[in-house]
């Protein structure tokens, strides 16, 4: 059992932070790696990239949006409650090259995954410009932490309720036009990562994305997380989760992420009904 020692709600309760006791994982985890979490006996195994680790305290932190039954079950866990299973750290850690000029682009809960990477890059002496965005002001997360982790921070909202009105790609385009960008890191909804990658390809700027395909074991055993990268099949769990954004077949990934849409909806509806009892 893996006990929750701290819990926060963000973005009007649609996004949850759980700090979980898992000393062995905390001791090994590196930025960019992920966990698999399972709430209870009948639960699904859900991959989530870590937002924070504290080896001294022996804790790991995940931040997730409530989108279906499994994340709804996670949401119902309070401080002192426990996940039945937490497995990790899984996947390859982020490769950080010191002293680079980097632009970090984050959308939605992707900002939670982006944060430790931006911080790691800044600590390694990179000049980190971050651009984070959300649909509106209420859904924006981790602005203060991102400000600390960046040399320069830009905030966008789709509806203009906070920061600059528009998409993160608009700010990114200005930075790319200005030149001098060595690398872009983009983490967020798949369409966002796709459009960032298309844009940076035009400017020839290497771009890293972090993917979250459907998987079961997270150790290379099931092959459910297949993604096409540069025309080759890769496993998101062991080869990733980070890949070269210019090589990823995002359209295929979007279709594969919809494989269980029907079942997911059914499961979530039933869960909502139970919740009302």
């Amino acid at each position: 059992m893996f006990t929750i020692v701290n819990r926060e709600e963000m973005a009007g309760g649609t996004v949850i932070l759980n700090e979980i006791e898992a000393p062995r994982i905390a001791a090994k985890a590196r930025p960019g790696q992920f966990l698999i979490l399972k709430a209870n006996e009948n639960g699904e195994r859900i991959p989530l990239t870590m937002a924070e680790t504290d080896p001294e305290k022996g804790t790991v932190t995940v931040i997730y949006m409530v989108v279906g039954k499994s994340t709804e079950l996670f949401r119902r866990l309070g401080v002192g409650d426990a996940y039945q299973d937490v497995i990790g750290p899984l996947g390859q850690p982020t490769h950080i090259e010191p002293g680079k000029n980097v632009v970090c682009v984050g959308g939605g809960t992707g900002v939670a995954v982006l944060h430790p990477i931006a911080r790691g890059m800044k600590q390694a002496g990179c000049d980190v410009t971050s651009i984070i965005g959300s649909r509106n002001k209420d859904l924006l997360i981790l602005e203060d932490k991102m400000r600390l982790a960046s040399t320069d921070l830009h905030v966008c909202t789709d509806d203009g309720s906070y920061g600059r009105k528009g998409f993160v790609t608009e700010v990114l385009k200005e930075k790319l036009e200005a030149g001098g960008v060595d690398q872009v890191v983009a983490i967020g909804p798949v369409p966002m990562m796709k459009f960032v990658s298309l844009m940076t390809k035009e400017y020839g700027v290497p771009t890293m994305v972090s993917l979250n395909p459907i998987m079961i074991d997270g150790t290379g055993m099931c092959g459910g997380c297949r993604v096409t990268v540069g025309g080759e099949t890769k496993f998101g769990c062991v080869d990733g989760p980070e890949f070269d954004g210019h090589q990823v077949d995002f359209d295929e990934l979007i279709l594969r992420l919809r494989a269980y849409t029907e079942q997911e909806r059914c499961s979530h509806e039933l869960c909502k009904c139970e919740g009302r009892h």
């Binding site: 090994k28 699904e44 299973d85 150790t219 055993m221 099931c222 092959g223 919809r258 079942q263 499961s267």
Partner: protein
């Protein structure tokens, strides 16, 4: 002779059309009367060939003699001397090429049903709990880490705990049992049986920790730093092979590993009672001809498929599956598309599978495996319509653990190099056995490797490397 007059006792089974729609076990097990009658057929050979055919050398005539005398408690005690997982082996061993394949009676008629009798003795014990666990030797103070909790690891754990060592099992999944739990379906091996076997080990003092991915959560070298004196690697093969043909990433194409893990470990056949979904194909194609292919096909039927086709590039004679499984699958209505090889997957504009283009094959000259090599028949392409394809063409070596252990010698395919007689690897204090050494094989061969490794580990802990 009287023995020849008694026919082999048929195993009572669920009727095919009933069982093809449920996940209950197919064979129901012998009654005590049937078991005694079947045991009475054994010739009690002086030099029993059956024992030589058993990878862990169970004293087969010995335990059968006890069953014939109605001494079921003594029968299971006799089996336990050599085999700690009889309820599993009685169900999943390929007896026809092992013990029963060597039975003298089989030369002229039907072999003694050794597997069925082994299963009977184990099931009888599980229901009555009259037998005492084997006694443990004096504690040695030595600690052994066993990585993985499949059949070879469970055998190592059993043997070493009895020899007085401390044993810790580490499992990457959230449940112990390895392939017995994620791979073999409920209708062939009920999960309660695996649970009971593991609980039995725990009762003897084996410690078990799930959710530990050795290679990630902890490395082999760190296990030594933590004070373990020896490490056994029984992690299985665990890397699904794909056809590498166009369209393989369409939605609806799954590895058998994924399909069976969803169904077995995650119990997705109970969805939405449990949270893990599984695709319920109406027309299903299973690629391959081994036990995993049979398990996948029969699972698909039970999940409500209208038609399940087995696409296999050789002929029936070359199919590596256990005979009983092929027979069961056929009774349940499996469609065999033999001498037929997939060329590419076909999909719709939503990226979902609609069919597989296949080509007919004919058998040519024998290849390196001694089986006749299938050759394409030009112009014979045709389409197998399906909305779900399960790729069951074998497994490779999963590199997750081995890559984190750079000084562990591997062969060119990535399997761990280990001595066949001892399981010793090229890294001091480390043994390996089962599929991570041999490539995908059977439960009993993995157990045989575990037995040899346990003997060697015990020798090392007593006398040194």
């Amino acid at each position: 002779m009287a023995v020849e007059k008694t026919p082999r006792q048929a195993m009572p089974e669920q009727p095919p059309l009933v069982r093809a729609r449920n996940f209950e076990e197919v064979p129901l097990g012998y009654t005590a009367e049937q078991a005694v009658a079947e045991a009475g057929r054994c010739l009690q050979c002086k030099n029993p060939a059956c024992v030589q055919g058993c990878p862990v050398n169970v004293d087969i005539p010995g335990f059968i003699k006890h069953i014939a005398a109605g001494e079921f408690d003594k029968a299971i005690g006799k089996i336990w001397e050599r085999n700690s997982l009889p309820a599993v082996c009685g169900r999943v061993c390929p007896q026809e090429i092992q013990c029963e394949g060597n039975c003298l009676l089989g030369r002229k008629g039907e072999a003694v049903a050794i597997g069925n009798l082994e299963r009977f003795a184990a099931d009888w014990e599980r229901r009555h709990h009259v037998c005492e666990l084997p006694s443990r030797d004096v504690a040695t103070g030595k600690r052994v880490a066993v990585v993985g909790s499949g059949p070879s690891s469970l055998t190592v754990a059993n043997d070493l705990i009895l020899k007085g060592h401390e044993v810790s099992l580490y499992e990457a999944f959230h449940k112990p049992g390895g392939v017995l739990v994620y791979g073999i379906p409920e209708f062939r091996l009920p999960k309660d049986i695996v649970g009971a076997e593991v609980a039995c080990l725990q009762a003897q003092g084996v410690s078990l920790e799930c959710d530990v991915v050795v290679g990630r959560t902890v490395t082999v070298d760190e296990l030594f730093e933590q004070g373990f004196n020896a490490v056994y690697l029984g992690v299985g093969a665990g890397l699904p092979k794909f056809m590498n043909i166009p369209g393989e990433n369409l939605v609806g194409v799954l590895s058998a590993n994924e399909y069976l893990t969803r169904a077995n470990l995650m119990k997705a056949y109970l969805f939405p009672e449990v949270d893990t979904p599984i695709p319920r194909g109406k027309r299903v194609a299973v690629l391959g001809g081994g036990n995993v292919a049979m398990d996948s096909a029969r699972t698909a039927m039970r999940l409500g498929a209208d038609k399940v086709s087995l696409v296999y590039r050789r002929s029936r004679e070359e199919m590596p599956a256990r005979k009983a499984e092929i027979h069961h699958a056929e009774e349940e209505g499996l469609d065999f598309q033999l001498l037929c090889n997939p060329v590419r997957y076909l999909g719709d504009d939503k990226g979902r599978l609609t069919g597989i283009e296949c080509i007919r094959m004919e058998l040519g000259e024998p290849d390196a495996s001694g089986r006749r090599r299938p050759v394409e028949v030009p112009g014979s392409e045709f389409t197998v319509e399906c909305d779900l394809a399960i790729v069951a063409i074998g497994s490779g070596a999963n590199p997750l653990l081995t890559r984190s252990t750079p000084d562990l010698p591997l062969n060119k395919w990535g399997y761990v190099t280990a001595n066949t007689d001892t399981g010793k690897t090229g890294k001091k204090g480390v043994w390996a056995g089962g599929d991570i050494v041999t490539g995908a094989a059977t439960v009993i061969l993995a157990m045989g490797a575990g037995r040899k490794a346990a003997d060697s580990i015990h020798e090392y802990l007593t006398w040194g490397w």
